[in-house]
Amino acid sequence: MGILRFIAARAALGVLTLFAVSILLYLGTQLLPGDVASALLGQSATPDALAVLRAKLGLNEPAYLRYLHWLWGVLHGNLGNSLTTGTPIAGELMPRLINTLFLAGYAAIIAVPLAVGLGILSAIREGSLMDRLASILSLAAISFPEFFVSYILIVVFASQLGWLPSLATVYDGMGFWDRVDATTLPAITLTLVVVAHMLRMTRTSTLAVMSAPYVETAFLKGLSRSRVVLSHALPNALAPIINVVAINLAYLVVGVVVVEVVFVYPGVGQLMVDAVTKRDLPTVQACGLVFAIVFIGLNTIADICSALANPRLRSRKRQ
């Protein structure tokens, strides 16, 4: 099968997955107790106030009809209005999506080269002091819950040293370098969170292929260890490395709610958590859809890259 057909097939599957995710999210939020009216009113939810608000928000319609209305809107490029604020969701979501991608990109630019580089270096110098240090320090970094890493960074770099701001509030019209300055601490936090996973997988995957016969042959040819790692072991270890990088990149986009809360960063995660708490279903759906697109997109790219890296993966028709 040609690579283009492979890509097309994966993309089509991705779209199907998106539908499934939107349905699952919808069902999931339906299972949650309470609705937007009772969540909005909280402890002030008198039956009277609830009835008025439900009617106002159109919650008396059956759930599946509301889903279909929403879906119809999305297919026509309309994400609908938020139930809580009444404003178009797209207007609220887009700047936040850009913020989320900005932070994820910033963290990825630091984390991916650092992790893969250190991973390869650790594989080349297996057992050396540098290998062990990289391994232990990266493990220590991920063992701390991310909110705790954030607190420590804030205490040291914002409160004590005063080098960086503790708040990452970004807004329209902020200059690029101001944004970079504001998001440096969250980006470092995220880097610390994702580096260890990628580093260790790079190292182990590389070492795992080192015992393959063709690598032994390369050694026998008298090539240096770093040469063998880079040109013989690494290419064959790429598939798992690409997958781990994809998972972590997706995490940087989707899983950063806690960091957003601590640094007051206006990203999609916080919007989604607020929407779930308030049972603002259209907003939950929109955020879920965005997350799903990112996730499925990255996974699809990872699959395609893995296939490119190891052409035999594409020819599974053989069996």
Binding site: F144, F148, R200, M201, S205, G255, I296, L313
Partner: protein
């Protein structure tokens, strides 16, 4: 590449000692802890002193005792959940990689769907519907985390199934089980063992994030993740109460991974041998 001798590196000893200490803590917590885990023995965030070796927590309970009892909860939950995670994730990953394309696609798509759901929000929904108890927590964590393991296991197994020796075994007419256990598993072990070490740590953190949402372990029982969360406030004022549970998570994680690293280095031989069948 050859194994650097049969000598056990000193880091493996350190890892081993940590793991053994953790096991002792799990088994004998009530006998080694100086105080019951819920007893209030002092003021709030007392600094370490002869009575409370590690000081006290946010409502005046002995930090050391809570650390020991908390270790019991955290380490055992993390251990069980991680094993379950690996079994589900690796099992499905191998099946997907070694059976038909249809099965692969079905499993992969289901996993994609689960992966695409933000993990905390998914957890929130599950707990809201099923309630919180330790078994439900372990199962939820395992299912969610196994989706992450699945992608890796599948990718690793895919690389192996296309190898000539696997194709040869298939042509010989070997069954799926034989291919998975005799061909794929031995060759895929290194990255999976490494993954185990990391998943173990992620499980701790997952429980900690659950405590962020008011889910997780029921008070007043201690667990390390919630202990970091409950005491985190002290850090802004130079208190070090949260560093103890955080340090404990780090030490156990590092210990387990040192042992994992050692296992990996031993394992290099059989993997090479497997390739020659």
């Amino acid at each position: 590449m050859k194994i650097a001798g049969r000598k056990v590196p000193f880091t493996a000893y350190i890892g081993g000692v940590i793991v053994v200490l953790a096991l002792i803590m799990i088994l004998f917590a009530p006998w080694i802890a100086p105080y019951p885990q819920t007893k209030i023995v002092g003021g709030v965030w007392d600094t370490p002193n002869p009575h409370d070796w590690l000081g006290t927590d946010s409502i005046g309970r002995d930090m050391l005792s809570r650390l020991i009892y908390g270790g019991r909860t955290s380490v055992s939950i993390a251990l069980i959940a991680t094993c379950l995670t690996m079994i589900i994730g690796v099992g499905l990953g191998f099946v997907a990689a070694s059976t038909s394309k249809l099965v692969d696609n079905i499993i992969s798509r289901v996993v994609d769907i689960l992966l695409a759901m933000p993990i905390l929000i998914f957890g929130l929904m599950v707990f809201a519907v099923l309630g919180t108890s330790i078994p439900i927590m372990i199962i939820t964590i395992s299912v969610l985390e196994s989706t992450r393991v699945f992608r890796l296991a599948r990718a690793v197994a895919m690389n192996i199934t296309v190898m000539d020796y696997v194709q040869v075994a298939r042509l010989r007419g070997e069954g799926i089980g034989w291919v998975i256990f005799r061909e794929i598993l031995p060759n895929a072990l290194p990255p999976l063992v490494a993954e185990f070490g990391l998943r173990f740590c992620f499980t701790f953190l997952f429980i900690a994030s659950l405590s962020f949402l008011g889910l997780g372990i029921q008070p007043p029982a201690a667990d390390w993740g919630s202990m970091v969360h409950d005491n985190a406030q002290a850090i802004a004022f130079g208190g070090y109460a949260p560093l103890f549970p955080a340090g404990a998570i780090a030490i156990v994680t590092i210990g387990v991974n040192l042992v994992v690293d050692w296992l990996l280095s031993i394992h290099a031989l059989p993997a090479g041998a497997g390739a020659e069948i």
